[in-house]
Symmetry: C2
Subunit: 180 residues, 2 copies
Amino acid sequence: MRQLKLSKAFTLMESGPVVLVTTHDGKKDNIMTVSWTMVMDFTPLFAITTGEWNHSFSALRKHRECVIAIPTVDMLDQVVGIGTCSGADTDKFSKFKLTAAPGKVVRPPLIRECLANIECKVIDIVNRHNIVVLEAVAAYLDTARKEKRTVHAVGDGTFIVDGRRIDRRKMMACKLPYGV
Amino acid sequence: MRQLKLSKAFTLMESGPVVLVTTHDGKKDNIMTVSWTMVMDFTPLFAITTGEWNHSFSALRKHRECVIAIPTVDMLDQVVGIGTCSGADTDKFSKFKLTAAPGKVVRPPLIRECLANIECKVIDIVNRHNIVVLEAVAAYLDTARKEKRTVHAVGDGTFIVDGRRIDRRKMMACKLPYGV
């Protein structure tokens, strides 16, 4: 995986792909599936909504680190599987045959099979809304990977695969931040 | 446009389409383009990130209402155009040939040309992160519309169009909320 400029990391998230989020609770790694995410700044900052009902939440709150890993369409059954069992009784890396790879900054692992990985620090938790605010500290993209299409959760059990890409860079030039 | 059950409204947003958000400042309607959005609950609650730099923000803060309108790929140039000019000096409904239609609950208008519209109340603003928390109060879907593909902003001036849809409803059954 090639390191990606932090100023480009928000472009991995803005289109709204379903993501995997890894945590480490001091003893073991875990993974959760999240589609309730939002870009908040180009710096980049991200929000995710999660809470007590999620086994990963206590690790996130206590250790204040995670990795956002971005899977592609060929990994959909793993993504759905991870989202429908709990780290309380399952080693998800083992069950879903995923490879934990060390990051550079945070303890939770990257997922080697994913298209991209973003190491994040938890910089705030807005308790009244269960919003966890993350700041990216390192990002990686697997440029050698053939399958690059991400998947978008509709929320009713169906998923939309990335279709074609349309270029409006000229029209948008005045709005694009430096470094994109 | 047909009224949609509120329990299904989050499915319009969870996949992360770029959306249009209408406001009314007491005198006139305005529209902004937003791709920094997040589902927060099935009730449904949504978050958007915006702030002082945005002309719509003062109307949002003062009048505490908006409509999230969901455009499709055939409207992309309008979506980009709306995102690259300001309501401070532009009547966007007129410039982009969009039709303001009255909602049932809030004052900001629906956009008739859009695939879906969600009337929302602002229920909180998390000032330290520029997060506006919205609760949907009514939702509509244009079931007669042929083009249903939404568009996802990458953030670099390119946009990903919805591709094919994959069904994992059986695998997800244990996680789907009632009413979806």
